[in-house]
Every structure is written in structure tokens, then in C-alpha cells.
Symmetry: C2
Subunit: 152 residues, 2 copies
DNA sequence: GAAACAAATGTTATATTATAACATAATTTA
DNA sequence: TAAATTATGTTATAATATAACATTTGTTTC
């Protein structure tokens, strides 16, 4: 489960953080990108691209698939959101710019996703790639199952 | 890189292994399932579902998407192949029935995929899921990058 | 061996996810 | 301000996957 108590605050803090990062890196956080990021952050669960599109259409009726996918690309490239490969879905990044590798605990029952970072994981990835003389570029690590809350 | 020297032998051995497992578990390794498994094992690289369908059509012109997807489902469920989530692609399992978790080193240059198992990975998965009181059901662990051969 | 049932496959249609390609608008740079 | 770059608009379509129902094949029971 997410530790978020006041989601409005939670979203605002994230958006501030993202704004700051964009300023630092001279990235353009346009109206569209802000809107989509806000929509993704509506919940701590994941969103499907076409659901996002439907929501965006409420504000911007002309929105079309490329509108969404291009925006998702920008947000992913810059580490503001993640794609969950095993679900073809997208989720806001819990701590933008603070980590490289992370993994996801995906609850099949409540749909919640916990984004985790761990030195152990990093070490295992490093040690195995070094051992295989493999130059890693992108790590996908997703564990689906049942979370603490839903286990009972 | 794969350690396979003689691919014909390699395929035959795998198919024998799969046959044996099917007998043990009373699974029906039908003509169709054998054909598809053989097609997947044609290379040590991955296959896309619709490419597989095209190949199957050479033998069985009536084949259609559900033909492939149902067969893939059977092969995945029983651990004979894996789905590579980050590529929407499928690959033969290097050691059917011999492991639970495994991870994949995916070379973006030569398209080769190395299937790896490691106690370390298992331990990390176990320790993190235990810590989070999470009951894991399916682990997706895919590292894409550049392999030893292609790195130079 | 025929009837009843279950499992696998056939078949049609369509849902879901994603991108190519080219046009226009907005912004930055020279 | 012209030229170049970046972002967005727009149309069309590609790529991936499943639902739903029909038929066939295999298995079990009588």
C-alpha cells in the first residue's frame, strides 16, 4: 500500500519536484505534459494508455492516440513515470530522479503497485551483468502477486 | 550467447525433455503444440506471435491468431517457453521444469537472449517479498542491453 | 460400442495497444 | 526576421491479443 495520507498534497509535491527537475534540465513541461502527468497521478495505481486518452479528451477533446503516447514517451524518458511491461500500463514514479533501478510489487487483487528500490537488487543486477560481461541499459523487474492488505 | 553447438541436437533434446514432462504430467503434446514449439526453437532468439503465425501457416494454412495464442498459453503455463514482456515476444525455455525464477539478458544488437537462473536473484526476490509481506506469483525480470559479443 | 462429457481446435469478429507519416504551430537560435 | 528545432495536430494503419461460439477429437461411463 502507498504511504500517502493526503493525496492532494502528495500530487502537488510530486508536480513541484518534477517542475524543479525540468527547470534544472531545461526540459519543457508543457501544458499537455502537465495535464497528462496529473491524470496519471490521480491514483497510486496504474493507468492504461487509452483510459488516459479518454480522460484527457474530457479536457482536450481533440486528443488522439499519438497525443498520449508521445507524452508518455517524454515522461518515461525523463523518469517521471514508469511503464509496467507486464500490464501494458503506466504509473507515476514515486521518487523521480532519485534512483536508477527499481522494481514493482503489483497486487492482482487491489491493483496497487508498490515501487521499491533496494541496494540488494542493484547489487544483484550489477554482479550478474558483470559476470556475464553484459552492458545493461534497461532493467524491467516486476513481481505480481497479492499484497499485505489483500492477503487475508 | 548460447552455448549450443549443434542446433539440431539441441532442439531434439529439448523436445524429448518436453515430451517426457508431458507424459509425466499427463499433458497433451498435440501435433499443433509440437509444431509451434519446434518453430519457437528454430533459433535461440525470440519470436513474435504473428511471425510465428506466418510460419505456421506454411504448414497449416488455416491457422489464425487464436491458434497461436492458445498454443502459446499452453506452452507458457507449462513452462516450456517464456514470454518476454518488454518485447511482446516469446522464447523457448532453456531448462524446462528445472527452475522457478529466471531472468533474461536481452541483447539489443544481436537479438540474442540469455536465460539465467541464480540463487542470488531468488534470495533477493524472497527477501524483498517477505519484507513487504507480499505473496509473489509471477516474476518478470528482464535486462536489456548489449552482450559480450556485441560490446566491442 | 454408443452416449455423455471434456478438451482441443476451428472460425469469425473485434478489442487493445502502439506507431508511421505528414501537416501545422510554437519556440529557440542564428 | 529567417531558419531551424521542437512540440503538437491529424489521418491512417500496424501490431498485439482476446471474446464468443461452432466443430472436432479424445476420454469416460454405462
Amino acid at each position: 500500500m502507498s504511504t500517502c495520507k493526503n493525496h492532494k498534497t502528495c500530487v502537488n509535491e510530486t508536480l513541484k519536484k518534477v517542475e524543479t527537475i525540468c527547470k534544472q534540465k531545461e526540459l519543457k513541461l508543457t501544458k499537455l505534459r502537465q495535464r497528462v502527468l496529473k491524470l496519471i497521478w490521480k491514483s497510486h495505481s496504474y493507468v492504461k494508455a487509452y483510459d488516459l486518452l479518454e480522460e484527457l479528451k474530457q479536457i482536450d477533446p481533440a486528443a488522439k492516440p499519438p497525443t498520449i503516447y508521445r507524452t508518455l514517451d517524454f515522461l518515461i524518458e525523463n523518469g517521471f513515470i514508469h511503464k509496467i511491461q507486464s500490464l501494458n500500463a503506466y504509473i507515476g514514479c514515486a521518487h523521480p530522479n532519485e534512483h536508477k533501478e527499481c522494481y514493482f510489487l503489483i497486487c492482482k487483487k487491489c491493483q496497487n503497485i508498490e515501487e521499491c528500490c533496494s541496494e540488494k537488487i542493484d547489487k544483484v543486477v550489477t554482479s550478474t551483468t558483470v559476470k556475464n560481461n553484459f552492458k545493461p541499459n534497461q532493467v524491467t523487474f516486476e513481481i505480481s502477486g497479492v499484497c499485505q492488505e489483500c492477503i487475508n
